[in-house]
């Protein structure tokens, strides 16, 4: 009984105030009226990493900074800016880290080459098997 009471009290405890009390920015949680533009913004937001949570995209995060960035992205898309331009602007400030989209930097070449390598390897194995069966 006592344990249950403690558990109930724990469930009631208030979360620590770790974020701003200000209301979210206008377009943090509001979609753009034009669905085509919203889709553009959404696609970009899903590949921008949240700076506070670090393993979430800003589209998934409740952090206030992620909300501010979502609002900023929507407003810039509405003003006619291209998503890739906004991505480049963010990379200029936070480095490749901020984008989930793989780039063509030399360090990622093995990543791009891996599928081709494995396909080549597979073809070689298949060829070997076919040859063996025929002989």
């Amino acid at each position: 009984m006592r344990g249950l009471l403690v558990m109930l009290l724990l469930m009631l405890s208030a979360p620590a105030l770790a974020q701003s009390a200000l209301p979210p920015a206008p377009y943090a949680d509001r979609q753009i009226d034009d669905p085509a533009l919203e889709k553009k913004a959404r696609t970009l937001m899903e590949t921008i990493r949240c700076l506070t949570c670090q393993s979430q995209s800003i589209a998934d995060s409740n952090a206030s900074m992620a909300g501010d960035l979502r609002s900023q992205i929507r407003e810039r898309i509405m003003a006619g800016e291209q998503p890739e331009h906004i991505r480049a602007w963010l990379i200029e400030r936070y480095g490749d880290w901020v984008s989930y989209e793989p780039t063509a930097e030399p360090i990622l070449w093995p990543l791009w080459a891996a599928p081709l390598l494995f396909l080549g390897l597979g073809l070689l194995i298949v060829r070997g098997r076919i040859k063996r069966r025929r002989s």
């Binding site: 974020q19 506070t52 501010d68 900023q72 400030r93 480095g95 880290w97």
Partner: protein, 175 residues
């Protein structure tokens, strides 16, 4: 050839094991530094965040003398913890300006009344826009700005007591 090939899975396993072990044992580094260090401050003009301090624009930071730009917020607990260190820096003759993130004037006033006010100017960045333009990823952060308005150094997190001499040294070197 076939005999050697038998060892391949074990080798692969050991390779991956080593890779994961080294990744797991390496200390977690979650500090995201701004790529703008060494570059000029982005342009910004902010309204005043406190009743008794003037507002802040980037042009005012290129004053011919190194300054400290502190990113803080009244709702941020480590910001209160670094207040005595900022006071010490001010007493050492450092000019400190600040940007208050996602804040409101009454809250900033109350925060400064409680923890002291080491700032010359305070700009209000209600929607984190300047914070993002600076490549800053949280509060508190401090930027050493050289006389020409370039970012010379970024300190992520609160300034601890033993960081003060290092910050003073960075300011001297930004001359």
């Amino acid at each position: 050839m076939r005999k050697l090939l038998i060892w391949l899975p074990l080798l692969l396993f050991l390779g991956f094991f080593g890779l994961f072990a080294s990744g797991l044992l390496r200390p977690d580094d979650r500090i995201i530094t701004s790529k703008l260090v060494g570059k000029p401050l982005p342009p910004f003009v902010l309204p005043a965040a406190a009743s008794d301090r003037p507002p802040l624009a980037n042009s005012e930071l290129a004053s011919g003398k190194p300054r400290l730009l502190n990113i803080f917020a009244s709702w941020c607990v480590p910001c209160a913890a670094e207040a005595p260190q900022l006071m010490a820096l001010k007493q050492a003759g450092v000019e400190i300006d600040a940007i208050a993130i996602r804040d409101a004037r009454p809250d900033v006033d109350a925060f400064l009344k409680r923890y002291g006010n080491p700032y010359a100017r305070i700009g209000l960045d209600a929607r984190s826009e300047v914070q993002i333009a600076l490549g800053s990823s949280g509060v508190p952060e401090s930027f050493v700005i050289d006389g020409k308005g370039r970012i010379a150094y970024q300190h992520v997190g609160d300034i601890r007591e033993d960081d003060v001499p290092m910050i003073l040294d960075r300011l001297r070197r930004a001359q």
